[in-house]
Symmetry: C2
Subunit: 236 residues, 2 copies
């Protein structure tokens, strides 16, 4: 429960009542094994899932069989916030590690946020941070070459994990393959591999055994053109 509340309180101050009623609505938890879909494209779920532990990826299925990744989900993120206002999912959320989610029913969450405007504002704010992240991805895919593009994603993941206290020293765990890097970046895994090699040889970062080591964050951010502003919410 905590990661969700912590996330919501970044932007909006909640009352004790807000917090406890949120806990009540998200009372039950559920576990998904690595590789399973938490929610599936075209489904019409009755539950809203909030990430408590583990990693997931949002992806869309394409006719050619590829599954581009549009976001990485970490503790505190809602898997399927849209479900409140619209039935049909337009993406899947797949567990990249074993995942623990808190679940709320659609109806209960509609009722809760209909009674507690601060909570509705907090969720609104969280949706806007997600939108800002999507904008950064659009720029990344549209205007940067593979080299800066990969560096940018590494900077983003490093920054987000660091806010969750999941970076120790210069290392953090990214539980996915070069193939999945490619799905998120619009690159083939072959090319991801070559770019990783270059970044490693240039002593900026390395990715080995699912752990990312940032060797020179200043140079890496310069190469990426990374500005962490879009991730940070100021308290209102």
């Amino acid at each position: 429960m905590n990661p969700l509340i912590a996330r919501l309180e970044i932007a909006v101050r909640l009352s004790d009542d807000d917090r406890t009623s949120l806990q009540a609505v998200f009372a039950s938890t559920r576990r998904f094994e690595k590789g399973r879909d938490v929610v599936r494209e075209a489904d019409q779920p009755d539950q809203v899932y909030a990430m408590l532990d583990g990693w997931a990826a949002r992806c869309k299925g394409l006719p050619d069989g590829s599954r581009p990744i549009t976001a990485f989900l970490m503790p505190g993120d809602l898997c399927n916030g849209e479900t409140l206002f619209r039935r049909r999912m337009d993406y899947s959320a797949v567990a990249l590690t074993p995942v623990i989610v808190a679940t709320a029913t659609r109806d209960a969450l509609i009722r809760l946020t209909g009674e507690r405007p601060r909570l509705a504002q907090a969720f609104w704010s969280a949706a806007q941070v997600e939108a800002a992240t999507s904008r950064a991805w659009i720029v990344n895919l549209g205007r940067r070459g593979a080299y800066s593009r990969l560096a940018h994603l590494a900077c983003e993941l490093h920054a987000r994990l660091s806010r969750l206290d999941l970076v120790s020293g210069s290392e953090c765990n990214l539980p996915f393959t070069q193939e999945q890097f490619g799905q998120a970046l619009g690159l083939t895994s072959v090319h991801v591999n070559r770019v990783l090699k270059r970044l490693r040889e240039e002593r900026m970062m390395q990715f080995h055994n699912r752990t990312l080591t940032v060797l020179d964050i200043d140079r890496l951010r310069a190469v990426a053109g990374f500005d962490p502003a879009y991730l940070q919410e100021d308290v209102a």
Copy 2:
């Protein structure tokens, strides 16, 4: 005022009080000439702007001087919803035509949505539709070649305009240049031009004098892999 209310009511039913108090908060309007910034990256505006008439583009400035476009704004869209919960803008909104916006102060809108949860929910829902559109752009930029990519954007704009009743027959007005198409698609204007030529020769669509003519929407959507689901909100 109407386009904003119409937009919000797609997902959430509002009371008469909701509507009139929203009108009161967004009482004043302002006009921006073509080419002007409605809001500017890194600014800390006190006002929130809602599009009433005209077109704008959301763009981010890059060190190399380019200004990639991350979204097109039409009547009913908020220009800078984030402003409620976070001070610093991470993008600019530039008027592509003369634009009329309704303006609300940040404080008044925070207060209003803090008192009227239905409104907060409605804005939350609108933010989610925007996020869904961003996801579609991410997939478009990441996985499709220039040909399908341009077709997909044309399909999206056609569908959105058609919901606003701005399509007459098979024609609609897109008030921007091939250069700006390119900025939205991550392509050079030269290449946009070549792809437009091909789509025209293949009798799917043409873009001439700022008007888009869709000649064969079925074939165009097939080429684009376009599924309009992400634009449509079901009533909750």
